[in-house]
Amino acid sequence: MDGPLTRTAALWRKRDVLALLVRRDLKVRYADAILGYVWSVLDPLMMALVYWFIFATIFNRNVGEEPYLLYLLAGMLPFRWYQHVVTGAAGAIKGERLVRSTALPREIWILRSVFSKGAEYVFSLPVLAVFIIAYRKGINWEIIYMIPAALIEIVLATGLALLLSAIGALYRDVDRVMHIIMQFMFYATPIIYGLNNVLDNPKMPEFLKVLYAVNPMTGIVSLYRAGLFPAELHLEMVLSSIAGSIIALVVGWWVFIRLEPAVLKEI
């Protein structure tokens, strides 16, 4: 059984293949659909509009920040990336026929999904830009935090996807369970409301605040939003995200390596 260093070296040698797989995914996604690009943007945009309508018009919203639609999009777009990788992870190895005919390092199928979903996130950023301009919202220098935020998200998503792809190839339920868990996590992460609404809320029990800190996406989303909404940024949450993401990668990879022989017999 090879160690992480040997495996990383093997992956690095196959980086061209990884790039090819990512390009293939993007090509397939936009190959047949006339509205190809529009589809990948329309879904999060519709959801953001729905939340904006419900909370800003129907309810008397007192959470989040202004402009609320921009606030929503800045959190929902990166969360969607994470959500797609994690819910798709159970099928990342099991559903890939190439695993049966090519001896590529198996991690490549997970990285491929992290990066192609990541590319879709990047492609959705012009929408955010359009709303920034429309709302004449000023941008702070903290906007560069989007880069470390994306890096932490890559580590977290890769770790969880490694774990879930291995377990998901052995047990069928993983797929369904993750759909439910990720729906829950969308509301359990400060996206439609703000981190400050959690921390400054006198009715919020202390243990829930700890749970918010344990969820790595809390710090990641606040880091993504910092350029537009600097009050959202809490450094201790970001540090907790970094720690959580590294733990997820170490544990996920370890499980992946241990289960690999059993997984390959299943497919």
């Binding site: 293949v17 090519t102 001896a103 377990i167 022989p261």
Partner: protein, 256 residues
């Protein structure tokens, strides 16, 4: 074959070493415990586990062509997968000293919604061919697959015969020293099969190593000098193909 003999003399190290390989399967997936898989790396000793392969050892010298013989369910495909590196042994080890061109499940790398042209670049790239190499071999691939008129056709519109032709045309262009061939190759019509046979003969003449799984004594005799006979996951004979085939005929159905 002269080239092959010379090459096997000049290189002492075997190109494929299979050392005491064992693969354990579980008949019932429900008994699998994650904890045991994590701690021991494989399923625990339950009544439903069995060894699909065990104590299998052999070396292959560069330029040799090996035919794997055995009835259904005796471990042939498992052995091929182990050598291809798409399955990992629970015991023992496999060492490959050169790259492998796996002609198994060849159509796996093709994408239904993309055109034949796009698919050639993608599939060949996935198998490690550089863009320049693909471009230089593109015409040859098209000529071999006889799909010149379908370059802009989506892959999903091809017939199954066309798909296999395309896949074989791409994978057979790989410059790897070891070639693994599954019996799945035996699909397609007679003229195309003859073309595939000619291509394999051509590749063998270059001194490359062939690892071939088939039920057809004719195909095995055509390409292979050495035979491996598997029964109940054990390697029961390793020798000249003629002799291995003789023993194979004496085996009762399903190796009972």
């Amino acid at each position: 074959m002269v080239a092959a003999v010379v090459e096997s003399r000049t290189t002492n190290a075997p190109i494929i070493s299979v050392d005491d390989v064992g693969v354990q399967f579980d008949r019932q997936a429900r008994h699998r415990g994650v904890r045991e898989l994590l701690i021991k790396g494989r399923a625990g000793r339950t009544t439903t586990t069995f060894w699909g392969l065990r104590h299998v050892s052999f070396d292959v010298q560069p330029g040799e062509s090996i035919g794997v013989v055995g009835r259904n369910g005796q471990g042939k495909s498992t052995l091929l997968k182990i050598v291809a590196g798409v399955m990992l042994p629970d015991e023992g080890s496999v060492t490959l000293r050169a790259g492998v061109a796996p002609l198994i499940e060849m159509t796996g790398g093709f994408v239904a919604s993309l055109t034949v042209r796009d698919n050639i670049f993608l599939a060949a790239g996935l198998h490690g061919m550089s863009r320049e190499t693909i471009e230089s071999k593109f015409d040859e691939i098209i000529e071999f697959s006889e799909l010149g008129k379908f370059l802009e056709t989506p892959y999903r519109h091809l017939s199954s015969g066309m798909r296999v032709r395309l896949a074989f045309a791409v994978v057979s262009q790989l410059d790897e020293p070891i070639m693994l061939v599954d019996e799945a190759l035996a699909v397609g019509d007679q003229p195309f099969r003859m073309k595939c046979y000619d291509k394999i003969t051509e590749i063998l003449a270059e001194g490359r190593t062939l690892f071939f799984v088939s039920h057809s004594a004719g195909d095995l005799k055509r390409f292979c000098q050495r035979g491996l006979l598997l029964s109940h996951g054990r390697l029961i004979q390793d020798g000249p193909l003629e002799e291995v085939l003789k023993t194979y005929k004496t085996l009762p159905p399903n190796g009972q």
